[in-house]
């Protein structure tokens, strides 16, 4: 022990981009990727001419681009050992207020679209501030706070619209964003892809991401290290809310309407993607890239079940069961580690 000459042996692999790749290779993200590939192989064999086609895969990517956006924000919040059940409802409320704002300013041009974008993002941020304030200042458990705000947001969306979907969306927005392409990539996929890359960078490579992990791992340690844990928590809820806001904007652009009742299962799908991707339900560990892969497991499953002509609602049953199984696996892993 007192041997002064002996150096601390160090595993040569460094952090940075290398660590990013390593963390992808080990652990759950690798398993999830493998599972996804197996699922895809399975459906490819079953439906050689239908499943693995550019058309089908592209539709799958577009269909789940919104869930990916929700998943990015949810990954951050869950890494800090909090919950955000409200994201699906925030998406709906943001899209309603987005349309209201665009109707208010009128017009069909890009400026109107930008107003709509600003309104959806602001709505998301506002719900985030509300969630964060209640969790941080009133110390209400986040699961209850966001269950509350879920209903507040969904209820407000119905109140504002009288329960009727709104369609007053500039054609420009639908044509160039919802159905648009950049270099052949569908715009919704591009937006989600950028969000994933930025989110992955921030969570794994920056001080903000490091502090988020520390907060979820040991709040007291984070506090003693001088991190303003209350401010950080609120920032994370705002981030999650704004991701939902952006998803609301993209949803408007794709469907040309507020889809008031179309997002009730978005949260559970995003949550399954997040935990499948390797983000722990118990905080401290999170990976945005894992989430981006994880989200497509329920995606491929649902797509495949439809091809198999299985009644599509079976997907919900499977999602619920898989969620429990994945969280159980995470629990077992933690118990083993702590022993």
């Amino acid at each position: 022990m007192a041997d002064q000459s002996q150096a601390v042996p160090v595993v040569p692999a460094r952090a940075g981009i290398g660590a990013l790749l390593r963390s992808m290779l080990r652990s759950q993200a690798a398993m999830t990727t493998a599972t996804l590939l197996v699922l895809m192989a399975f459906f490819t064999v079953l439906f050689p001419s239908k499943f693995l086609t550019v058309f089908n895969i592209q539709n799958l990517l577009i269909d789940y681009s919104g869930i990916v956006l929700l998943g990015v924000g949810l990954t951050f919040v869950m890494t800090s050992e909090c919950f955000d059940l409200s994201i699906g409802a925030t998406l709906v409320l943001a899209s309603v207020l987005g349309v209201e704002a665009m109707v208010l300013v009128g017009g069909e041009g890009w400026s109107t679209v930008l107003v709509g974008l600003a309104a959806t993002l602001l709505t998301g941020a506002a719900v985030g501030v509300f969630n964060g304030f209640l969790v941080v200042n009133l110390r209400i458990p986040s699961i209850i706070v966001t269950l509350g705000s879920l209903n507040v947001a969904q209820g407000l969306a119905y109140v504002l619209t009288g329960g009727q979907d709104m369609h007053e969306i500039p054609n420009l927005m639908v044509d160039s964003i919802g159905l648009g392409r950049v270099l052949g990539i569908p715009a919704p996929v591009l937006v989600s892809g950028i969000a994933v890359i930025v989110g992955a960078f921030v969570l794994s490579q920056t001080r903000f991401g490091r502090h988020t992990c520390a907060l979820g791992s040991n709040k007291e340690a984070a506090r003693r290290a001088g991190i303003d844990v209350n401010r950080l928590s609120i920032q994370l809820y705002v981030l999650s809310g704004m991701c939902a806001g952006l998803a609301g904007f993209m949803s408007l652009a794709r469907f040309g309407t507020t889809t008031l009742s179309g997002h009730s299962t978005d949260f559970i799908t995003a949550l399954l993607g997040v935990v499948l991707g390797g983000t722990s339900l118990f905080g401290g560990v999170g990976t945005v890239l894992g989430t981006a892969v994880g989200v497509f497991i329920p995606g491929v499953l649902s797509n495949g079940l439809i091809l198999m002509s299985v009644f599509p609602y079976w997907q919900l049953v499977i999602v619920g069961l898989v969620l429990c199984a994945v969280v159980y696996a995470d629990l077992v892993k933690r118990r083993q580690r702590d022993d």
Binding site: A7, P9, A15, R207, S217, A225, G283
Partner: protein, 259 residues
């Protein structure tokens, strides 16, 4: 052990919580290059004394000298600015983060685009561990959850030392450790002093204390009953001081000279 000016000197500090007098006119010193053990039974005031030094609460009366200059410590920030670091019993490490991330938590170094400068942090982390001859870590990229109690203690101590601290206070660092790990931590405590830092070691274990301490301060019922030179005393004497040491002040009574 010369009679050098103490790095930290408390003169006649008292602390009251309502009607309870937790500390009564306690004197306490810590010298560079020495380990000062702080012992006493439960409720003797050890934690209260340390919290005053750490800035978690302030003493009601008395003076604090640091480098022979009077100072005030009103917050943990003041304490850290003086170069005082406390390693609490619960260590406050983030289990899911690796050793480097924990040692730099809240003080991360960044490079372009706000990217964490992992290479630079890793180098400093390794240098610090090497300077403390901590050789039991397999890798500084190991998560804390994979470390033993002794290794965690070593990481917490290294974290405290890395901030250019001059006084390191260790609260019961061996309380939860087995024999071999206790040995390692005690060696580490001794090396801190040998590196020229002032070390305060709070412990219940007299065996540990006689292994590494240069001086021993005994608190009893909130009073300083004796300061021993470790070389010139024995466990029996210290135990006697802990359990039946003579009180100089009677809490809540007007000052009368008892001697």
């Amino acid at each position: 052990m010369g009679e050098a000016t103490p790095l930290l000197e408390l003169r006649g500090v008292s602390k009251r919580f309502g009607a309870v007098e937790a500390l009564t006119k306690v004197d306490f010193t810590a010298r560079l290059g020495e380990v000062m053990a702080l012992v006493g039974d439960n409720g003797a005031g050890k934690s209260t004394l340390i919290k005053g030094i750490a800035g978690i609460h302030t003493y009601n009366e008395g003076q604090i000298f640091f480098d022979a200059k009077p100072v005030t410590i009103n917050s943990p920030r003041d304490s850290a600015a003086l170069g005082i670091e406390v390693v609490y019993q619960d260590l406050a490490l983030a289990d899911n983060l690796d050793v480097v991330a924990n040692m730099f938590l809240g003080h991360e170094r960044t490079q372009a685009m706000g990217m964490l400068d992992e290479d630079s942090m890793e180098r400093t982390c390794i240098e610090t561990l090497q300077s403390l001859s901590v050789t039991t870590l397999r890798s500084v990229r190991q998560e804390i959850s994979g470390l033993s109690g002794g290794q965690r203690q070593a990481v917490a101590v290294a974290k405290a030392v890395m901030r250019n601290s001059r006084l390191v206070i260790l609260d019961e660092p061996t309380a939860a450790l087995g024999v071999a790990q206790t040995r390692q931590v005690l060696d580490l405590v001794r090396r801190l002093a040998d590196k020229g830092l002032a070390v305060v070691l709070i412990s219940h274990n007299l065996h540990d204390i006689f292994e590494v301490a240069d001086r021993i301060t005994v608190l009893r019922l909130g009073q300083n009953v004796h300061e021993f030179m470790a070389q010139q005393t024995n466990p029996q004497e210290v135990v006697h001081a802990i359990t039946a040491g003579k009180m100089l002040h009677v809490p809540g009574m007007a000052e009368v000279e008892i001697q």
